[in-house]
């Protein structure tokens, strides 16, 4: 593809997103912090469900699912997808509980502030910033490398343009821009899968040709079975189940959606969103099967998806692929940037720097924070540009492991003490960094991390129990 066409798609998509954000700004109230960041807690179920789907969908799925199926067969579909569904379902009881005990919270860090103390608050703010900054950087880099390669544009420039687009539309309407553009981004992705995946099957000669190719090129007993061997399960499913699956619980962008949706529809929203997200995975899996038929001897399995998209979609492939990837990347980056701005505004600025700032002032700080964190995300992207992609995913999950069990204990057990949570988070983080650095396998590393968090928090709380009562978490504002 000519670079001019690539620029046209990038800027066209960007202008469309900014127009949607501007339009939604005319329809909603973004003058207060609650309106800007959590949609006054009045966003409807379907609006947030689609946004949640978009947040969970990301550029890597386009390539990683075909790659997994290419290596493992059809069992790769559920090994990749179901752990994330588990994470999506896990957010339901946790966010419902948090919104019930602390109705005015906008972040889970705010809960730690009121439930525990300042040191835990700052620690988990740090973990939140780390997790979201790296998540945004991962996406910007994916956009830079893939779109840059397809459209012959400098990858660093693509990453910068993508970050610029996110900044412009996020700064206009906050969460509403993110939610509205997510709908477009889901639609783009679904068009790729629901229209073009069947088209590629037909273009490849139909199901009978596909089946014949699979039987001749692979071992059908393994590759056409939903039951993987233990080794395959250990290598391809457990790392997701133990690490990445719980990303939803630590991810600030998921929490922002949990705080924005009307509280009587939390379960419905996240169940629909999780199952809806999962519906895209078998479609990408079919692309992996097509790769086994038409490119059975690829030296780099990571190219399986790209190979199929380019050979079976013809000349329009690159354009469709870029538009879809833009949708996937923007939806995740905007959520991450907004979540970071929320943390900076509510959890840092208005708690430690200017405690008497009014709502309008807070929104101004929020807009400035969006600019600051967009720049920081771009700088992080450039800083980790040469680090292996999969390694980045694993180190991003460190924060997840440190958060999951301490948060559960704090939400449900009154004796959970601030020292126990703080010590656990430090020990878990250190253990995981050490194990990843020294080359332990991913499942073992996360199993150890969760094991420590599961045992150490209650153990230390028994030694130094807290006298906390949940009734102390009195709301500071009246919930509408």
């Amino acid at each position: 593809m000519e670079s001019i066409a690539g620029y046209a798609i990038l800027f066209g998509f960007g202008i469309a997103m900014i127009a949607i954000a501007w339009y939604s700004n005319q329809k909603v109230d973004t003058s207060t912090t609650k309106g800007f960041f959590v949609a006054n807690r009045r966003a409807t179920g379907p609006f947030v469900a689609a946004s949640f789907m978009a947040t969970f969908m990301w550029g890597a799925d386009l390539v990683a699912v075909p790659q997994t199926v290419y290596l493992t067969g059809i069992s790769g579909i559920w090994m990749y997808g179901l752990p994330i569904v588990v994470g999506g379902f896990a957010i339901i009881p946790i966010s419902s509980r948090l919104r019930s005990v602390l109705p005015d919270a906008m972040t889970y860090q705010e809960f730690f502030y009121k439930r525990l103390d300042e040191k835990n608050h700052l620690l988990f703010v740090g973990i939140g910033i780390y997790t979201m900054l790296l998540a945004a950087a991962l996406q910007l880099r994916a956009a830079g490398q893939i779109i840059g390669g397809l459209a012959s544009i400098n990858p660093y420039v693509v990453a910068a343009i993508t970050a610029g687009i996110v900044f412009l539309y996020s700064v206009i309407t906050g969460i509403w821009a993110s939610l509205s553009t997510d709908w477009v981004q889901v639609a783009t992705t679904v068009i790729l899968t629901i229209v073009f995946v069947p088209y590629m099957v037909v273009e490849g000669g139909g199901i009978s040709t596909m089946y014949a190719g699979l039987v001749s090129n692979t071992d059908p007993g393994t590759m056409l079975s939903f039951i993987p061997s233990w080794g395959t399960f250990y290598e391809f499913c457990l790392p997701f189940l133990l690490g990445w699956a719980l990303w939803g619980v630590a991810s600030m962008s998921v929490w922002q959606r949990a705080m924005a949706v009307r509280r009587d529809k939390i379960s419905r929203t996240f169940i629909y969103g999780s199952i809806g997200w999962f519906s895209t995975i078998p479609m990408y899996g079919i692309v992996g099967l097509l790769a086994l038929v038409f490119a059975p001897d690829l030296g780099a399995p990571g190219d399986a998806g790209i190979e199929v998209y380019t050979s079976l979609l013809g000349g329009v492939a690159a354009a469709i692929f870029i538009a879809t990837l833009m949708g996937l990347v923007l939806s995740t980056v905007d959520s991450a940037i907004l979540a970071l701005a929320l943390l900076a505004t509510k959890d840092i600025y208005s708690k430690y720097i200017s405690t008497d700032i009014d709502s309008k002032g807070t929104v101004r700080v929020a807009r400035l924070s969006i600019g600051l964190f967009t720049a920081l995300a771009l700088a992080t992207t450039y800083a980790v540009w040469n680090v292996d992609f999969l390694t980045l995913i694993w180190i991003n999950s460190i924060g997840v492991t440190a958060v999951f069990f301490p948060l559960l204990y704090c939400l449900y057990w009154e004796k959970t003490s601030s020292n126990s949570v703080f010590a656990t988070a430090i020990v878990v983080g250190s253990a995981i960094v050490y194990m990843l650095y020294t080359g332990y396998s991913i499942p073992i590393t996360y199993l150890v991390g969760h094991g420590i968090a599961l045992v150490l928090t209650p153990l230390l709380s028994f030694i130094w129990p807290s006298e906390f009562e949940f009734s102390h978490l009195t709301p500071t504002e009246v919930e509408a």
């Binding site: 179920g45 079975s225 009587d264």
Partner: protein, 71 residues
Amino acid sequence: MDQTGLSLLILGAVSYQAIIMAGLIVWLWKRGIRVPASVNIKQESTTERKKMAGVVALFWITTLAIIFGTW
């Protein structure tokens, strides 16, 4: 998995996504993007929770049946 199984997998995947998207669009059409300020939003009801627990159970039963059952 034989050829019929592969056909069912592909048709099932396409239908699954089509149903999900259609449901989402209809749901959004009915509910809009935000709840009016005049509406008093209460806690999630027990009936809603039970209904949703049923949906989750149905999802897992169907998924596990497909994985460990037919094929």
